[in-house]
């Protein structure tokens, strides 16, 4: 305390701010512990009083994989890249898709579902959606471990491309947070958004190479298709883990759209967060 007193005191300046001014990275760094506490709270609380607990993180993608394998793999004979067995081909997309969907949904409702805290205490608001995303990474980690085991069991050899996987994971998170921040900011004003989100995620999964291969898209449409950042993410996951053909130039639209949505989503969020408690 004594040495703290010797320094000139920290000054907090309060006034009406414009959008970007509200982004205070230094302050977010100072409060990084809170990010972990909030994420830890989410993880602790989510599976309380459930029988399966974190088993749900495995069970959901597992059940999807079984149904997809039977319906799309066996009956409809959906073609895969490099003749990779359908169960592992689809699971490599189902697991990251589950992360994407849960981060998107959590981010879109993070402000409204934490209204109680946001109304009573200040901290950098961006920590709330970031903590929600971090908490979902725990589920992803568990499911991903199962996925790796499955790839091993199916006798697929890893290639050096696996080293690039973190980049595609980052692209996934940037996309999910970007769209989530947009939806979350709008949801403060228009609560219809939270009704729309589950439906949106389902529709979006059909527009992404989850149950089918991106190679099935007619070449003329591939660049348009690539505007969906999740197309780039899922192709990347398959490339890194299964050794399917590397994403070509169509990765760039995915990256550009993801970053653009992320930056504008942040801007929207920062704009809204200045006075959102007046409405929440």
């Amino acid at each position: 305390m004594a040495e703290a007193r010797a320094q000139p005191p920290a000054v907090t300046r309060i006034r009406a701010r414009a959008g970007w001014e509200a982004l205070n990275l230094r302050e977010m760094w100072e409060r990084r512990e809170l990010l972990w506490f909030l994420a830890w709270r989410d993880v602790r609380v989510r599976y309380k009083q459930t029988i399966l607990g974190v088993g749900w993180a495995i069970l959901q993608p597992l059940m999807q994989m079984v149904v997809f394998s039977i319906v799309f793999g066996e009956w409809l004979k959906v073609p895969t890249d490099n003749n990779i067995p359908y169960p592992v081909f689809s699971s490599t997309a189902v697991v990251p898709w589950a992360l994407f969907g849960s981060v998107l949904a959590a981010t879109a409702t993070s402000l409204t579902s934490n209204a109680g805290i946001l109304n009573k205490v200040y901290f950098p608001r961006l920590l709330i959606p970031l903590a929600g995303a971090a908490a979902r990474l725990v589920d992803f980690g568990v499911a991903f471990a199962i996925l790796l085991a499955m790839i091993f069991v199916f006798g697929i050899h890893f290639t050096p491309a696996i080293l690039l996987l973190p980049l595609f994971l980052l692209l996934l998170l940037v996309t999910a947070l970007g769209f989530g921040l947009w939806l979350g900011a709008i949801n403060v004003y228009i609560r219809d958004i939270q009704m729309l989100v589950p439906f949106l995620i389902t529709l979006w999964s059909y527009a992404s190479p989850v149950i089918y291969s991106a190679q099935s898209i007619p070449p003329a449409w591939r660049m348009v298709y690539a505007l969906n950042p999740m197309a780039g993410v899922l192709n990347g996951f398959r490339w890194c883990l299964l050794g399917t053909p590397a994403p070509g130039p169509e990765i760039w639209p995915s990256i550009i759209v993801a970053i653009a949505v992320f930056l504008t989503g942040m801007m929207m969020f920062l704009r809204v967060q200045r006075t959102m408690v007046d409405i929440l």
């Binding site: 000054v11 907090t12 809170l34 709270r41 200040y122």
Partner: protein, 417 residues
């Protein structure tokens, strides 16, 4: 005090709220589509949704010297909480600026972010982190926090099984160990039992004694009087009055409890009556303090009785009730063998005098009656307005000033026997 550097410096602060729906369509997509589709619906919603604004706070300029404890009082909806929310950075102001020098902690709610499924121990860490403590700080003060909460045995119980009293104790225990330079406190002491409230106030008093700056919003005037050296009275988003706590609170109480009319209420003169009380004041009170008592000197109540017909033999009574409605004292005109009064028509002042009135601070009700001896006929029965505001500095032992009735300084001599 004015020499101290400011801890908080506020310049022209204002906050405007929009009333009604934020969006021009009631905030739903349905309304939005309805607006696009039908000109009639659009016209109707444009009419009903013309933005209407209210200023919850306006033109607030204020310097709070370091180490002072400032109370904020006012009726509901005058901007007290808005001010605290702006200073805590929960919401941005619409105009103006505020600068706070030092580490700021706000306590707008006890136990913010507590999760029922988590244990007491887990919630201490979570609430600490939300309120701005680091993990290391919570670790260091953990034992003190637990001791303050008196919840040692329940630390590993989920807080959803706590009673509301336990919940509040845990929340305040964390808040009490935040160690800020500036503490912003909203009405949080309304919860919890009496002894806990006392401990919280003592704790806040300790914080205030160590040179921290405290801003304290409350409706409990006793708490304000005890803690704050200066007090702001907010009205309709502006500063109505700012000064030493005793004076501001007394003015606030006399206005808000008694109505603005000081004394003489003409309305009581209307109907036919034989005798009626019109007004009261403290006999010989200085201007502006006619209904305020702020010392232990002899005190006299001057009741104005309007007599319309001669009363050959009558008598009056006077009672004082405390804020809870309990009778504190009563007297009568014939006490001490004075006998009955004979009053000619006209206005008379009945002056009841007391050697002193050592009451703890608060708003007391005066009740006066007047009877005719013959048939003990009640001529008037009056709850005096405004009320009597007692604003003596509390002189009981600090631990007990919330209880008890009398407010007297005690002397002591020690003699060898």
């Amino acid at each position: 005090m004015s020499g101290a550097p400011p801890a908080i410096s506020i310049r022209g602060l204002g906050k405007r709220y929009r009333i009604g729906s934020y969006l021009p369509t009631g905030g739903t997509l349905r309304g939005w589509f309805a607006d696009r589709l039908s000109a009639k619906a659009r016209a109707a919603s444009a009419e009903s949704n013309k933005p209407r604004y209210i200023w919850a706070l306006r033109d607030l300029t204020l310097d709070v010297p370091t180490g002072s404890v400032i109370g904020i009082i006012g009726r509901n909806g005058v901007g007290k909480s808005t001010l605290l929310k702006i200073l805590s950075r929960i919401t941005d102001p619409t105009e103006g600026t505020a600068e706070l020098y030092g580490k700021v902690a706000s306590l707008l709610e006890v136990g913010t972010g507590f999760h029922g499924e988590l244990t007491g121990r887990e919630n201490i860490y979570l609430n600490g982190a939300i309120s701005g403590m680091t993990r290391a700080e919570v670790d260091r003060r953990f034992d003190e926090i637990v001791a303050f909460s008196e919840l040692e045995q329940f630390l590993d119980t989920p807080v959803k099984r706590y009673s509301s009293g336990m919940y509040v104790r845990l929340g305040f225990a964390v808040a009490a160990h935040l160690d800020p330079d500036i503490l912003l406190v909203d009405e949080v002491l309304a919860v919890g039992d009496l002894s806990f409230q006392r401990r919280c106030l003592n704790r806040m008093n300790d914080v205030a004694q160590t040179g921290r700056t405290v801003i304290f919003v409350s409706h409990q005037m006793t708490a304000i009087r005890r803690l704050c050296n200066r007090t702001i009275w907010l009205e309709a988003g502006r500063i109505r009055d700012f000064g030493p706590t005793g004076e501001v609170v007394a003015r606030y109480e006399s206005e808000s409890l008694g109505g603005a009319a000081p004394g003489g209420s003409g309305s009581r003169e209307g109907a036919a009556y034989k005798a009626r009380y019109l007004s009261w004041m403290r006999d010989g009170a200085p201007a502006g303090e006619a209904h305020v008592l702020s010392d232990l000197a002899p005190v006299a109540f001057r009741l104005v009785l309007d007599v319309r017909e001669r009363i050959a033999a009558g008598y009056g009574g006077i009672e004082i009730f405390d804020p809870e409605g309990k009778l504190i004292w009563s007297g009568a005109s014939y006490d001490g063998g004075r006998g009955d009064l004979a009053l000619d028509p006209g206005k008379h002042a009945l002056i009841y005098s007391l050697p002193m009135l050592p009451l703890k601070p608060g708003a007391y009700k005066l009740h006066a009656s007047f009877y005719e001896r013959e048939g003990r006929k009640l001529l008037d029965d009056w709850w005096a307005a405004p009320e009597l505001i007692v604003s003596l500095p509390p002189s009981s032992h600090p631990d007990d000033e919330w209880q008890g009735i009398l407010n007297l300084p005690c002397g002591l001599r020690v003699e060898r026997e």
